[in-house]
């Protein structure tokens, strides 16, 4: 389509976003994904208000209520989605878990973005040896998978802060680890965009006018690279959430008394075939839908923004 696109859609900047928006809304799947995502976000933000129980209340976890099936099976109206092995209300736990997972996902990706943008801009703009070195680092970082990096980082963090401290810092650690592990994707995309933008006249013009490189990068080049960043951002959030879930599954994630969705699945895993399937299945479904939605949203954005991203 490349051949015609420029003929069909005006590059007029002002109306561009409204065009994209219109197109996006026209895409039913993407709209649905967006709606569900917004729903998730609202749930995450208002979890304390929505949750039927306060999870911080010492009475919240009552072993007496352990493993009650969801409302539609047990008929127990106190617990809409049933309770887990510790007697916690599944609905409340899942609401808070979603909040945690999303927070970790979004914050981690924010770190990735910040890091990726800085490195990508520097690398693309300065070029030469710096570029070569940074991209090689990115290669190495990419080839060691997130999981490996995370395991090593988490071990180091545990060493630095000690076990008890780690417990309280777990969320921060996870954000940092996942944030630090996946910057290369952003860096590469930004770099590619910068290289493309650098060719264009306005950058030369800006340089001739004596504007500092930093200003050129942030004021002039960066805004033009935002489209691919937005797409990766969406997809990366889902990746970050999955990474957190996998780390929790390996026992490196959130502690059991402050569970993210991944930790919930991990804890519930042994109940999968024990009859109390809801302990594992409900958080799994919640997680899978969230990730699916993020991916669909990413696909939608990709279709409608049509950026060149570094593929992964």
């Amino acid at each position: 389509m490349r051949y015609f696109k420029k003929d069909i859609i005006t590059p007029a900047q002002s109306s561009r976003w409204s065009h994209i928006w219109a197109g996006f809304i026209g895409d039913k799947l993407a709209t649905l994904a967006l709606a569900i995502f917004v729903f998730y976000c609202l749930v995450a933000i208002f979890a304390p208000l929505l949750a039927p129980y306060n999870i911080n209340n010492p009475n919240f976890m009552d072993l007496e209520n352990a493993e009650i099936a969801p409302f539609w099976i047990s008929g127990d109206s106190r617990f809409l989605l049933g309770t887990d092995a510790q007697g916690r209300d599944m609905l409340s736990v899942i609401l808070y878990g979603t909040r945690l997972s999303l927070t970790i996902g979004v914050c981690a990706v924010l770190i990735q973005t910040a890091l990726g943008i800085c490195i990508g801009l520097i690398s693309g703009y300065l070029g030469g040896r710096t570029d070569n070195f940074l991209m090689r680092c990115a290669d190495i970082q990419l080839s060691l998978s997130t999981m490996m990096v995370a395991i090593v980082f988490l071990a180091i963090f545990q060493a630095m802060f000690g076990m008890a401290m780690y417990q309280q810092l777990a969320m921060l650690m996870l954000i940092l680890v996942i944030g630090l592990a996946e910057w290369p994707l952003f860096a590469r995309t930004i770099r590619a965009s910068v290289l493309a933008e650098k060719q264009k006249e306005y950058v030369d013009a800006a340089r001739i006018m004596g504007i500092s490189p930093k200003r050129i990068m942030f004021k002039h080049i960066l805004p033009n690279t935002l489209t691919p960043v937005l797409v990766i951002f969406t997809v990366q959030i889902s990746n970050a959430i999955v990474a957190e879930a996998a780390l929790s599954f390996l026992g490196l994630g959130m502690p059991a008394n402050d569970p993210s969705l991944g930790a919930l699945i991990s804890v519930g895993f042994s109940y999968m075939f024990s009859g109390s399937w809801w302990i594992c299945v409900i958080p799994s479904v919640t997680l899978i839908i969230l990730i699916l939605v993020m991916n669909m949203l990413g696909d939608g954005l990709r279709d409608h923004l049509n950026p060149k991203t570094y593929k992964d």
């Binding site: 015609f4 003929d7 069909i8 026209g26």
Partner: protein, 333 residues
């Protein structure tokens, strides 16, 4: 009989729930050995027209109605194998950017030989000989060496020559050249144009040149078709059109050319830009940019009339012809 005749061709794009017209009621003919140019700004639908002729429009574009006849055979109704026969063998295309037109991972030779062998049953060796001969004929030095090279090892001009050689392989009746020189250096442009011209003349091939460059057009084409916003607005012999453009848009295009401007006079760019597909105005699509626009232009689509110089779709010309005021004519000049 016309070699190629396009009549009332409508091509639409199905975009985001809207059905947008990219070509509206386009008709023209091409005779054997004739060289015709299609000019217009980008977005006018020239390229769409070029691709429609060999039925190569990508989704979401499609031919809505109209006919394209090659030797009286309807191309729009052809099956895939029939189209494959037409493409390359009867109608060949040259693209705008030679850097992008050759497959980067295949050797020049492979890309040449496959073109021959997909149409004629001959051995690889014979095909190779033909290919080398053609490379030679487009003035490529040491064609045997080039044959085994990859596109990235060649310069832009060289690649365009290779493409022309590819096109020549099967001796087609029509060459559609879509802005064949736009992406090249000025010096090479001239060479390539000359090459195209020579080839068409020597082999009596018809050429459909798609270009926005009236300078190039004036050197090659015998006849010119001017397009704006998916419609043909003026058609006639190139020389006449250049000397006496009828449609305000054609005038605007010509005024924008440096060599057309009088010394000391500023270049006259047409104000504004081509509207995108989804914002096509009513009436004559050119009216928002036309200095002579009237209410009639805003509401109605003008029909074609023969101005004597060319066939043109403009109410102003129509009015003038009905007035038959020759003095007024001269004033405009």
């Amino acid at each position: 009989m016309n070699l190629l005749s396009v009549s009332n061709l409508n091509v639409n794009f199905h975009l985001k729930g809207q059905d947008l017209a990219a070509l509206i009621d386009v008709s023209f003919t091409l005779n054997r050995g004739e060289r015709v140019a299609i000019v217009g700004e980008s977005g006018a639908g020239k390229s769409v027209l070029g691709f429609s002729i060999v039925n190569l429009i990508d989704k979401p574009g499609y031919i809505k109605s109209g006919s394209i006849k090659l030797d009286n055979k309807e191309i729009t109704k052809m099956t895939r194998p029939q189209l494959q026969e037409v493409r390359g063998k009867r109608i060949a295309m040259i693209f705008q950017d030679p850097m992008m037109t050759l497959n980067p991972v295949l050797t020049i030779g492979a890309q040449l030989v496959e073109a021959i062998r997909s149409h004629t049953r001959i051995s690889f060796k014979d095909a190779k000989n033909i290919a080398i001969e053609k490379l030679h004929s487009v003035q490529i030095a040491s064609p045997e060496k080039r044959f085994h090279q990859y596109p990235h090892e060649l310069s832009g001009g060289m690649r365009q020559r290779v493409i022309i050689a590819t096109v020549l392989l099967l001796n087609p009746d029509i060459i559609i050249a879509d802005e064949p020189t736009t992406a090249l250096d000025v010096t090479i442009q001239a060479e390539i144009i000359q090459l195209l011209l020579d080839i068409c003349r020597n082999n009596s091939m018809a050429l459909l040149l798609i270009s926005h460059d009236l300078g190039v057009v004036s050197r090659i084409a015998e006849r010119t078709i001017v397009m704006y916003a998916g419609r043909v607005v003026e058609e006639g012999p190139t020389l006449e059109i250049i000397n006496d453009p009828q449609h305000p848009y054609t005038q605007g295009l010509l005024n924008a050319l440096p060599q057309m401007a009088l010394p000391g006079q500023r270049l006259n760019q047409i104000v504004g830009s081509m509207p995108p597909l989804n914002e096509r105005p009513t009436g004559c699509a050119f009216h928002p940019r036309c200095p002579y626009a009237t209410d009639q232009c805003r509401q109605q689509q003008p029909g074609f009339i023969n101005s004597g110089v060319s066939t043109v779709a403009c109410f102003m010309v129509e009015d003038m012809l009905t007035d038959t005021n020759s003095d007024y004519d001269e004033e405009i000049d």
